[in-house]
Amino acid sequence: MKKVININFQGRVVPIEESAYEELKNYTDSLRRYFAREEGRDEIINDIENRIAELFMERLKNRPGGCITDQDIREIMTSIGRPEDFDGETIETEEGSSYARTAGTSNTSFTEPRGSLYRNESDKVLGGVCSGLANYLKIDPTVVRILFTLITLGGFGSGFLLYIILWIVLPAKSLQQQVRRRLYRNPDEKVIGGVCSGIAAYFNIGVWIPRLIFVAPFLISIIANIFGRHGGPFNDFPDVVFGSFGGTLFVTYLILWIVVPFATSASEKLEMRGEKVDLESIKNTVQEELQGVKGRAEKFSDEFRQKASTFGEEVKDGAQQFASNVAPVARTTGATLGHAIGVLFKAFFLFIAGIIVFALFVALLALVFSGVGIFPLKNFMLDGFWQHAMAWGTLILFLLVPIIAVIIWLVRSITGAKSRNNYLGYIFGTLWTLGWVCMITLAGLISRQFKRVGNVKETIVLAQPSNGKLNIDLGATTGKYYNMMWFDESDDDLPALSADEDSMLLRTVRLRIIKSKDNDYHAYTMKLARGNTPIQAEQTASMINFNVDQNDSIIYLPKGFGISKESKFRNQQVLVVLEVPVGKSVRVDRSIDWYRWFNIDMGRHGINFDVDEDYYNDYSWSSDIWYVMTDKGLERMDGATGDSGAGNNDWNADENEQKGEYRYRKGNDTIDIKIDKKDTTLNIKLSTEARTMESDNDNVETLAVKPRVSKSAVIRHTFIGALDLLKIGR
């Protein structure tokens, strides 16, 4: 008793026994795999199925009401041929059938034991080096390919170089696949994607081992989160997912899930376990087929033609022996040389393409890391649900999606897996587009919060120091601050330090020393911030808490100012202005260098505090040196004029008019810089003992580089300083 089912085969309804259907399905699957790398694969399969349908119809016509039986399938399979029959037995003559039957197995198998390393002609992605190696080592080619890729990525291309060398050196040969075992996902024992059970079958170990390995980091980190912190595990989603070990495994699982095929047919399941497969030489024959019957036939006939004509000529010349000895040698030498050149060309282009792809990939990775790196900042940057949503969207969709896509693409091309899911590309495309939208929206939302500048001026009450000297120092740290970034090397460059999750310490503080109008020291702070409206900005600025302490002649500035989650980061800055009366001295401690200097941006919307006339009267100073205020500006008290590269600076500013002259003098060399109010022109005059140069336009940079003055570095430094002043002064 057998169950009969109806199937739609090539557009026709065919009644067929269920067991026969299973056999038919296995058969067409085996054909599909056999022709997997063939160019006209679909057409060939279609033609064969069409033929099968025709044979079905013939059979059904002869017995109305009947169905297709196991016997029919077997006959059809014999007539069309099983994949293992295709090769080597292309033609059977009556008397040749006996040995031809064995040809299938012996044709392509090279029973040489290890010791002969070849490139595998019949299973290759580039040059067949990897599968040749795999064959030599008797392991799965996929493993070797992955290893090679890792070496290339991790070893600065050394893997690639090695590959090219092997490509050129190793002879090509069609090799029989030594390993029958292949990695599949196991559909029978799956929890999520069947990856773990597939791995277990591949290595012949218990399923629980790979499962535990994949799950353990998650369990550990979740448990650690529950016990170690008060927040639930989901607050730290990124820690769990991106945490190095667990993250790697997570991504690995995802990629294997997508890349590794399910073992659907019976033979694939057997292959998964590494057992002998019924259609034993499927693999074997696939390899031979890859070269293509046509290609080989052509080569064959070409070779024969060549030999024949060579032979003919030899007869003519009567120089048989000589020619027949030389010709093959010459031919093989020429072929080897051509082969090497071809490989080098190919390798060159691959190398260029590889570098481009690699650079793009690295750029993306860097983006992601910086994205993850600034992630702790998000609480200070973002305001409201939408900004948070957009930030997550940007991180995941815009940055992570292309990376996963690239990795999947890489693995696929390594394993030679056929793209079964075309929709994957569409999904990635759509997600990435969404990522773009998120990023642009986020940028828009955030930039709105930085549109306007606001400032608050706050006078510091100073007690006049008894000895007429003022020392400016950094106050003792209150509370422990640590670097909030994940990368150590950027420690010094960042303007912000984190105290805890709820507050952040900014050190965007600038100290300015100017001449006092009376005989007293004065000081005030200017707090700056940005916001959507000037009022908002001003509000944020007023929330800056910057307390200055004084102990007679020492002023202590705080290490920075804190901002909280509530006040947000709106580019808050503090400008400390110290007025020093003429004749009194001042010294700035080296610890003040701790501050991140900033340029006060007087953009489009202007800085709208009252411009004090002394505001532009700014003097440059170095830390740890005592200065005395004179009518001309700050003067060093140690009398040094240029020991440590610092020369004599004069700054004659025409107050209120925003113009002035800046002079740097050292020995007999001088630099004069004139700034006019009306235009943006810098007039620069260089005078050295050797010659004098003068700029007639604003071509400052060329002038700064051109002069062959021995102190060019010093000069350039001065220029930068001058430009900085100019920026502030304008």
Partner: protein, 121 residues
């Protein structure tokens, strides 16, 4: 070096030539080709023939048209293109050369005096 390998290589080399030869005579359906080759004592599997035809078609040597059939789905009837005809001519010439060469070599002692001189004509 084993005998089976050499033998199968030999057979494979002439396979295309034979198929093109059959199609050249008249438009042919794959089953016809199989039948005809069987008659000539050359056995070929359909699973080998179909891919070969597809490759020849993709190389513009063959073309086909669909013909409705009473017994089932429509059939592909193959015929030679101009390029295919030229290709066939070349194969034919090669085959002649080859056959002669093989003949003269294998039959060496017997025919040498007669054939060696006009071999290249």
């Amino acid at each position: 070096m084993n005998i089976e390998n050499t033998q199968s290589q030999m057979r494979k080399g002439v396979l295309e030539f034979c198929i093109l030869s059959i199609i050249k005579r008249a438009e042919a359906y794959p089953s016809d080709i199989i039948e005809e080759m069987k008659k000539a004592n050359l056995h070929i599997l359909e699973g080998t023939l179909y891919p070969l035809l597809t490759r020849l078609k993709n190389a513009d040597l063959l073309t086909y048209r669909w013909v409705e059939s009473q017994s089932g789905p429509p059939r592909k009837y193959f015929s030679l293109t101009d390029k295919g005809a030229a290709f066939y001519k070349e194969l034919e010439a090669t085959w002649q050369e080859l056959a002669n060469a093989v003949q003269s070599i294998t039959q060496n002692g017997m025919y040498q005096s007669e054939t060696a001189n006009n071999f290249n004509q």
